[in-house]
Subunit: 330 residues, 2 copies
């Protein structure tokens, strides 16, 4: 191999991104410097937060640069090392995705503990989505057994983990998903009730599923889902805002008819980011590792094959085409 | 006096209320029962939260009943008592407003401590609006000296107290108000910057007043103000939602363009009610009493005279016609 191939951002999208926004480029592989490691990527992640990085807006992660390789979560094996810490064959997780071969100082590549889980789980239940689910639930929502939790996009990578962790913690769980197949899977995951948001208004279905209202809301969607949570939030309800996928590809504002209930019901709403918990990965692995290895938290993946398929996989996040975690296998 | 006069709710308004929604009725004064007290009201309060009570919707205070006397904050003096706890001439605060004479068991009438403040302050800085300002700031926002606070409707009864308490606590305070007169008063109260929301877009003005963003937001308004707070909220910003007056008289949803910043900036938004702090009135009087008596927290009142003027006073809350606390003097 003499060249690496990487996806670059060709132009910044307005609204929904398209294939024409991406360009695959080749780059020669320079000899390794002292302290550097080269990794052959085996799994690449696409995640909704990447849409924000396509805009030229300062946020919690810097925007992608035009013409430059994009990046994101990846799992691979060391193919060459000039660092004592890493040796050929080591399994690593890192942020130099959207490419087939990653070269960087050794510190960029996290060697993974032996938890007895499949390699791609490091991009799923033991990676960004699983960690987001875990911390949003355990640190932001801080549930008590018996409380009623509503989680939107419950068939997504984050939502499916939320459903299962919440059931393991003794909660009454209502999930929403789009379409009968996804809803059936969410039910299999253990949800007590499932709302098909494509088949009925969310608010009406949520009232039926939780006649006494909800105590906790884990939001991946925003919009109509968030409004329904305001409408049904019980006194002192807590909302964790993880994602607002309804808002990512539109210039239309979010419309809330029931926002005023935040006062009457003394609702607390908090946004959060997985990256704030990076210092607590040991705690996360310690709880989540056994849940995943023991089959208490399972997953489905929607897998695209080959680097060429990266844009397909990414765009699929916004068309509702994926069940569980969306991945690209190289 | 043989009859009492009380305002009743004639019909439930859609959108903005009107004079035709109210009807003044006379009721004969029955002889007092053992344990009852009769109070001659001297000051009556009108407050935005009463708008919600005109709807037939369960909320934190029950709806007004059609054809029945309305109620709300009032200050008066005991004119007759058949309870040992209360004697003629005692100054009391109570919730049997919207009428000239109130009759009830003694426990309904709170005897007021001697804090050296004007009688009407018990409906203002030492009453519902002052307490709302105090607890929203001190318990929900929990400010640290040097932080930047934005408060909407800063010339209102709650907002003007927020500005002054916040300055006493060492904050950088930006207030919004509608029109030059109100803005000048907010500046007099000590605000470091004032935004005239009738003269310019709130967001643009807020960016100029706080180029580094805001740490705290005390919301009385919602809508465009709340959206501007989301746009300018710094990391870990905290919002206290006290009122959403923009939403009370409309069926239009609140439109938020910058809601997604709740995630990137890890913003916490919490609704709250003064009534949750009723058990801590001693603490509130202990801090706020000296601030009011010593002139650190001042007030203006917009006073209407006579029971007949109650609807005028109430409707004035929604037309932006009042500076400071809106009161009716009997």
């Amino acid at each position: 191999m003499t060249n690496a191939r990487a996806w670059t951002l060709k132009q910044r999208p307005q609204g929904m991104p398209a294939h024409s926004d991406f360009e695959l480029k080749e780059q020669p592989l320079a000899p390794l410097q002292d302290g550097e490691v080269r990794v052959g990527n085996e799994w690449l992640s696409v995640d909704p937060y990447m849409r924000g990085r396509m805009n030229d807006v300062k946020s919690y992660v810097p925007p992608f640069q035009l013409g430059e390789p994009m990046d994101g979560g990846a799992v691979g094996r060391v193919i060459e090392s000039r660092a004592d810490s890493h040796k050929e064959g080591d399994l690593v997780q890192h942020m130099l995705g959207w490419r087939d071969v990653a070269t960087a100082p050794a510190a960029a590549f996290n060697k993974l503990p032996a938890l007895g889980v499949a390699d791609h789980q490091w991009l799923g239940n033991l990676g960004l989505p699983g960690g987001t689910a875990y911390w949003g639930l355990m640190d932001v929502l801080r549930p008590e057994p018996g409380q009623t939790l509503f989680v939107s996009a419950a068939a997504g990578a984050v939502g499916s983990a939320v459903v299962q962790i919440a059931k393991a913690k003794g909660l009454n769980v209502i999930g929403s998903a789009g379409g009968a197949d996804k809803c059936a899977w969410v039910k299999e995951l253990g949800a007590d009730a499932v709302i098909d948001y494509k088949a009925q208004p969310v608010l009406k279905a949520l009232y039926e599923a939780a006649p006494k209202g909800i105590d906790l809301y884990f939001d991946n969607v925003g919009g109509e889902h968030l409004d329904a949570a305001f409408a049904t939030g019980r006194n002192n309800a807590r909302f964790a805002i993880c994602g607002l996928i309804d808002a990512y590809n539109t210039t239309e504002p979010t419309k809330l008819r029931y926002l005023a209930r935040i006062i009457a019901a003394r609702i607390t709403v908090r946004g959060f980011l997985f990256t704030d918990y990076i210092g607590r990965m040991g705690e996360f692995y310690g709880e989540m590792g056994p849940l995943v290895a023991g089959g208490k938290v399972t997953s489905r993946e929607t897998v695209h094959d080959g680097l060429d398929a990266m844009p397909d996989a990414f765009l699929g996040l916004f068309s509702g085409g994926n069940m569980g975690k969306m991945l690209v296998r190289l």
